[in-house]
Every structure is written in C-alpha cells, then in structure tokens.
C-alpha cells in the first residue's frame, strides 16, 4: 500500500472560481442526438448536390471530438490540480463523447454502411486532418505532473481546437440549415456548438488563471509559442478548407468564418485577436443564436427546456401582497 493521501472533492465550499457555474450550465444543456429527428432530412439528402463535402465535414468533426474525448479532456482532468475543476473537465469529456457519437447517428440515418466505412478510412488518410489531430494530441500527451506550463499549453490547445478548428466544419451545416437545407442535422450541430462555446470559455478562463501565475518573461515566451501554434494550425486549416470544400465555391466564406473564430479563441485565452475584422455570412452567424429561437410547437423537443430548480410551496406562495 502506498502512502498517498486521497482527498475527497468538497463542493460545499468553492475551491475554484466559476467551476460550479460551468458545471451547472453544462448539465442544463444536456441533450441526446436521438431527440432530433434527423430522419426528416433523408428526403432532401437524396437529392443533395454536395454529399461528399457534407460527409467529410462531419467525419472531420468526428475525429476532433474523438480526440477531445479520449485525450483532451481526459488529460486536462488528470493534471488539473483543483478537484472541482477536474470534475468539470470530466463532465465536459462526457459531452465530447456524446458529440462524437452524434455524428455517427447522422451517418447511420443518411448513409449506407459502405459509405460510412469509406468515410472512416478517409479520416485516417486525410493529411490535414491527421496533422491537426496529431499536433494537438502531442501537446495533450506532453503534460507533466507538477508542470504548470505544460498544463497551460494543453489548455491553450484545447481552446484552439474547440473555439477555432471546429468551425471550418460547423460552417457548412449552419450555412445550409439557415437556408432550410438539412435542417435537422444542423440542429444537432447547433447543440454541439452550444456545448463547445462553454468549453472554450471555461477552459480559456482556467487557462488565464494559470497564465497569471507565470513570470512576465515566461508569459512573453508562451505568447510567442501560442501565436506560432495558432498560425501553424491556421495554415493547415486553410489547406483543409480548400480540400474539403472544393467544388462548392464556399472556401472564401469558410475561411473568413474560421478567422473570425480564431480571434474568438484567442480572446477566450486572454490574448489579443490577430486577424482583421471582416464580414461573415449573416446566415451562419445567426445559426449560432439558437437559444431564443421560437419554439416550434410541432417539433418534438425544443432546445429550450431544462432542469427545474425545486423549491417547496409554502403558505407564502398564496400571498400576493407584494407580488410586484
């Protein structure tokens, strides 16, 4: 038996700023792909022109969510020191698993088995996809116990993945969904996106707290490292975009969306944006704002219902004296 002392997570007093808030928000947003009637897209899918691009976009996203489940959130949870934060990362990881699985749900609904097999083969062969997956995974796998710098680098990479690299893929379903094409698959994406935006903000926030502890010289050094990593990933992303969106004519628009999100990713970790502001397709921008979108009474589930906060009915419940 070792002499390690095991400490239990104590949620009764906050040990980490905002951990509770991120936890609550994530659980409030719980969803499962089966709640969305993707089968309603089948009819449009059969005559959809750019099936190849669409499938590849989703296959690419599957890989990123797989990395994020198996390595990203796992590693960060392992090496994060605060017990409440660890718990939050573990919960995030569970949602990553839901994301990764949800693409399969869409594939199963729209594609044949052989098409699906081909896609997963394509993932293994696509150099740009493999490049970003291995680049990020290497950083995740290099975290060392007690080395705050290595943990910060992993968190930085995680934010790059979630707030930036996903968006070359998210673009397409949002763009189409906003025009009424394959809307239910787009709904799945908007739910994933809603999670990713918490992850980006949360991991970015924890990364910023860590960053503050470093000396100014160290901070400068890490900044250079961070921007270099971002640029490296950015060039790869541009090539990936050209590759996947070939023949759709959408590459330029996807690229501006990617730059827009790269800036947001930088802001999440407390860095200055690096790309100049530019116009992003408004349909895609509106695709994200699904929170308030008007509940469709005939759809099976609105994305707007969540867990109740229970408080008992008391005598005072019947007193309307000071109601306003």
């Amino acid at each position: 038996m070792s002499n390690l002392v095991y400490e239990a997570v104590n949620w009764n007093k906050p040990t980490s700023e905002l951990a509770q808030i991120f936890w609550d928000q994530q659980w409030k947003q719980i969803w499962f792909p089966e709640e969305i009637a993707v089968s309603k897209d089948i009819k449009q899918w059969q005559s959809f022109e750019h099936q190849e691009t669409y499938k590849k976009v989703f296959a690419g996203l599957t890989l990123l969510d797989t990395v994020q489940t198996n390595i990203g959130m796992n590693q960060i949870a392992t090496y994060a020191t605060d017990l409440q934060e660890k718990a939050v990362f573990t919960v995030f990881g569970a949602f990553e698993a839901i994301h990764a699985k949800s693409y399969s749900y869409i594939f199963t609904t729209l594609c044949t088995n052989s098409e699906i097999d081909e896609l997963f083969e394509w993932v293994k062969k696509n150099e740009y996809l493999q490049y970003k997956a291995s680049k990020i995974s290497d950083i995740y796998n290099s975290i060392e116990e007690g080395n705050a710098e290595s943990l910060w680098k992993a968190m930085f990479s995680s934010v790059m993945l979630e707030s930036f690299l996903f968006y070359s893929g998210f673009f397409y379903p949002l763009y189409l969904g906003g025009q009424g094409i394959l809307r239910n698959s787009a709904e799945v994406i908007s739910l994933i996106l809603r999670d990713e935006s918490i992850h980006g903000v949360a991991v970015g926030f924890f990364a910023q707290n860590l960053f503050k502890q470093f000396s100014t010289e160290k901070q400068d050094e890490l900044k250079v490292w961070g921007y270099e990593l971002l640029l490296d990933l950015y060039h790869n992303e541009m090539a990936y975009t050209d590759d996947v969106y070939a023949e759709t004519g959408l590459s330029p628009e996807v690229k501006s969306y990617v730059r827009y999100n790269a800036n947001k990713a930088l802001m999440n970790v407390g860095f200055d944006p690096m790309f100049p502001e530019e116009e992003v397709n408004p349909i895609v921008m509106n695709g994200i704002r699904n929170e308030g979108s008007t509940y469709d009474f005939f759809s099976q589930k609105g994305s707007t219902y969540a867990k109740a906060k229970v408080a008992p009915i008391t005598d005072d419940t019947f007193n309307f004296g000071e109601r306003k």
């Binding site: 025009q179 229970v310 008992p312 009915i313 109601r323």
Partner: protein, 697 residues
Amino acid sequence: MKTYLKLNNDVLNRYSSTGQLELEKDREATRRYFLEYVNVRLRYFIDVEEKIRYLVDEGYYEKEFIELYDMDFIKKLYKKAYDYNFRFPSFMSASKFYDSYALKSRDGEEILEKYEDRIVIIALYLAQGDKSLAERAVEAMMEAYQPATPTALNSGKRARGELVSCFKLSMDDSMNSIAENIGYCLELSRLGGGVGVNLTDLRPLGDPIKGILNRASGVIPVAKLLENAFSYSNQLGQRNGSGVVYLNIFHGDIENFISSKKPNADDKIRLATLSTGIIIPSIFFELMKRDKDIVLFSPYDIYREYGKRMSEISISEMYYELLDNPNIRKIKRLNARRLYTEVKKAQFESGYPFEIFDDNVNDVHPLKNIGRVKMSNLCTEILQVQETSVITDQGEPNEYGLDVSCNLGSIDIHAASKADDFGQLVDTAMRLLTNVSQMTYIQNVPSIAKANQIMHSVGLGAMNLHGHLVTQGILYGSKDSIDFMDCFMEAMNYYSLKTSMEIAKERGETFHRFEESEYASGAYFKQYVEKEEKELSPVVLNALGKVPVITKQMWQNLKEEVMKHGLFHSYRLAIAPTGSISYIRSCTASIAPCTERVEVRDYADSRTIYPMPHLNNDNAHLYVEAYDVNAYDLIDLYAAAQKHVDQGISMTLYVTDAWTTEQLAKIYIYAWSRGIKSVYYVRQRLQTLEECVACQI
C-alpha cells in the same frame, strides 16, 4: 446562395451586434424576393376571366362556387381587392404567404395566386353566392380580419383539406369507446386536425375489470395508443400528428400522467409527441393552500355509485361527499403541495402539462344548465360542453353525444381600431365563420357532425395586441394596456352577440337548447347591465380609435333582444395562439407579448428573421420581450380579456431558468385566483453562458 435570405439574416446579425435596426435591409430582402423568386414563378394571365377559367378548367379551383356569381361581379371584386394597393410589409410576411398559402401548380414550380387573389377566392367561397357578403368579406380581410390557416389555405381549392382543424373528443370507460375514438383520431389527423381527447372517465391502473381487481391498465397505455394513431397520419412527414389528452388531477393515474412528458421518463410511460393537460378543480387549490393531502379517485367507482362519469360531476362540489362515501375507494393520498411541485417540475423540463382551471371555466359557463365543459383542445382556447357517446357492440346502434369541431378567425386589433365600422367588421367575421361551420361536415365522426349541425359554435379571436400598443406608446402590462384590452374585448363580445342574435332572427333558428342557457334567462348579462362605467384615459380612448365603448344602455337593449330572438351560436369567442397566420399580416401573435424584438423563426423551409411590426429604433423600448414582462401584469391583462370571452384564451407563460418551481407555482395560483381559465405552455428561456458569466469574468 439566395441574396434575399442573406439580406433578411443580416437584419438580425446587425441588430445583435450593434443594437441598431436596419429595416431597409429587410425591405431590400422583400424586393429581391419578388425579383428573384416570386415574379419569375408567377403565372401570367391576360385578365381575371382568363385566370378564373384556367384555374377552374385545370381543376385547381372548385367550379361550383364560382358559378354562383356572374363574371362582372367577380371582376369587380378583384378590382376592389387590388385597389387596396397591398404591399407585404416584411420579408417574413411575403415569404410565409408564398411558401405556405398561395396556390401553386401541381409540380410546385408555378405560383398561381397573389395575395389579393387568395383573399377574393376565400370571400367568394365562404360567401356562398351572397354578393354583398362577398364584398364585405374582401373589405374585412383586406383590412382587419384573418380566417384561421385551414380556411385561408383551403378555401376554393378543389384538392383541399378541411376548413376547420380543431377537434375535441370524449372517451368513455369501455373498450368499444376506446377503439371508436382511436378510429376518430386516425380520421381527424388524416384531415390535418389537432385533436383533444378526455381521458378522465377511464378507470385507472389496477382497477377492476368485470369485478376482478388489478386488471385495468389505466390511462397511459391508452394515451400511447393515441400517440401512435396521431403519428400514423403525419401528413407525409410534414408534421407530427397533433393531439392532446386531458386528465383530472384527482384521477388515480395522475402521477404517471404528470411525469409522462419528462425527457427522462421511463419508456413505459413516456409520451414523446402527444401533448398533455390537466384539469384542476378549485378544491385542489384550496386543499393546497391549507397544506392538506388530496385523495385520488377512480371514475369506475364514481360511475357505479352515482351513475355519472367523473368528468360529469364537479369534484369541487362533490369532494367531501366522495370522501365520506365508503363505496368510493380512496386510491391514494398525496400532499397537494408536493404533487403541484411535481407538475411544475414537469413544466420546467418539458413545457407540459397544460392546465385547465375547472371551476373558473364552469362557474361562468353560459351553457352550464346544458352541461359541463370537461376539457380543452390542443391550444387550450376551445372550451365547450360535450356529451359522451355510448358506443355499443357491433350490430347495435350507438348513441351519439356531442363533440366539438371549431373554426377560428382573428381580428387584427391595430387595423380594427382604424376600421370605419367595427360592428360591421365583427359582423362580417362572424358570418364568414358561420358559413365555415355550415360548410363543414365531418362524416366519419358522428358526434362531431351532430354537434356542428345543432350547436353552430365558432371561435373569433384577436391578434396584434402588442403591435398596436407599441404604436400607441402604451407599455404591455400597464394599466392603460389592461383598460384597453378590457374595452376592446367587451366590444368584440357585444358585437359578436349582436350578430349571433341577428342571424338567429333572420333564420328563425337558435343553437340547440338555447332556452336553457344563461343568455335566455338574461343571467349572462348581469355583469354588463350592472357594470360600473369607468373613466378611460385619453391614451386608452385614442388607442381604441373607432372601436366604440359599450355602454350599460347598449347592453340593456341587447339583452332584451337576445332574450327575445335567441342566439345562433352556442359559442362565439376564443383567442387562439395565432402562429404563422399573424406573420402574413405582420401582426404580433394573439394578445401575447412578443418573445423577441427581432424574432428568429425556423420553418421547415428556412430560417426567417422577423422584426416585430412597427418596430423602429425609437420605439424598441416599448417592445418589452415576454420574458421581461412582469408575469403578474401579463396575467392581469389576460384576466381583463377573459371576462368577455365565452370560451378561453390560449395563454403562454414565460420564465427563465433562474425561476424556481415555487415561483412558477405562484403565478399559476395567481392566474387561477384571477379567473383565468387555462394556461397553455410554459416557455423557458435558458440563460446563455454570456449572460451568467459576463458579469463575473
């Protein structure tokens, strides 16, 4: 990429990022939509005559109603409609009309009708050869009257669905009745209807069958059968069949029923697509106030003991009698507060169940001597008496009772305040609704066909309240807004009664058993002939515009006429939620507050951005969004309207996830205490992460 969609989306995108409304973008989107989409698909006709001839010959229009008029008259009517120089005020209104309402060629490629054409055809079709009514119908519809979707969509078309789409059925505690009603549900959803079914009279889980205990399966399996029946006819996947089931809160199966909509409910009880509603008698609230337990009953016992179905008795009146009667089993005792907390939890998690406040409905029910209102429809605004059919074995005759079909229409409040003659507007609307009711014959559901023939019920409602208030500088929920609503609905009530009386006089026919109603006895008019005539502020008077303020004397006169001549309609008013139909007219929905100043609407076809009518950069503060309107003020406003509405009003409550179940319970209890008859959905806005973190990071 369609440029008009991009322009339309840009309105929201800019508004969200800068807070400035760029309405010219929406106008440009509308212009582009016509250039790029509508005009290129619009079939060109030399003149009206050729248009009519073509559409009749090609089998798009029914020929019979056209032949009731001469061509000169028809031409005159088209001219009348086109002389209004109608322009779609928003991209939403134009795209909604051309996507969903305009007649298109069978292959969907050509557009065969413009807005005015549709209006004229509805008028000709519903007026049934009455030229003067047809003319008045065009005026009313071009100005301020909107028939409900099934009527607006289907009128005059040869391949058409029904003109009505709202039905209520009562199920009896027998296998025959269950099977028969499932058949009706299949039939009615095939016709595109939304159906409400009352389950209160079915014996609960574990009840005896033929005297042997623990045999009955209860209401949930029946609800599941209904759910399957509705989704079977899903209109080619266009939408899920829509149905709602109602259950009394004192029914033995109530706990499972309440949980059935929760997303994490056990699969055995989970209702995925079927809506649910509970009937709550006042005694429940009283017991809850005193923190008592409630006792659940079985309709099986009640029927054996009293010869009446559970839905046929007032639980509030009979509660202690049922408790004292040893032959009535006390199925279960539950703490009322805890049970109601469960209801609130379910509502947070799913929006369901709806609630109907049984005694608020029946205490003021003008037909209370004829029977009880036992349930509502899919949108909780239809509240009419029903009589359960007795379905017998094969080969024996069934005894058909009364069920409900209802056709709806709405008055645009803003336009109505400017119409020259409000009384005539309501009169035209009522006559068009009356004709729809007469033209409807649901052959395969005899209880509905029978009720339709003898009860002549309609449901006239209103929309664009919030839009109108904004133009008048009145804040939604303020005292002025409540006074306005009060006067406006009183006028609607007055004129709809007047028309109903006049039709009864013209035809020498009243609705079935009018003599037993509170209209006939005059009791109904007590609240009006004895009312206190209150001082109205200039703002309210201005907002009413040309809508008359009804005096005591006017009521006194009308009372005498109604008592003398009777009424043609058993029910007249009901305020529906008005979804897409209000968008075509660029109205805000129903009498509800807007949910977003710039609304995002996802339709099957596309995502459309809809800035609220009359919204501009200067009046945005008046468009308080529903989630920011004080819930108690909202209820007060609905209560003011409800006094004048013989049926119900579809009322949605808006909360955020910061609310607790107790706060939610409190506003429902408040609604009940204010005489509200029903609560439709609870809609919840999730705070976004930005909202909850922004203030902290």
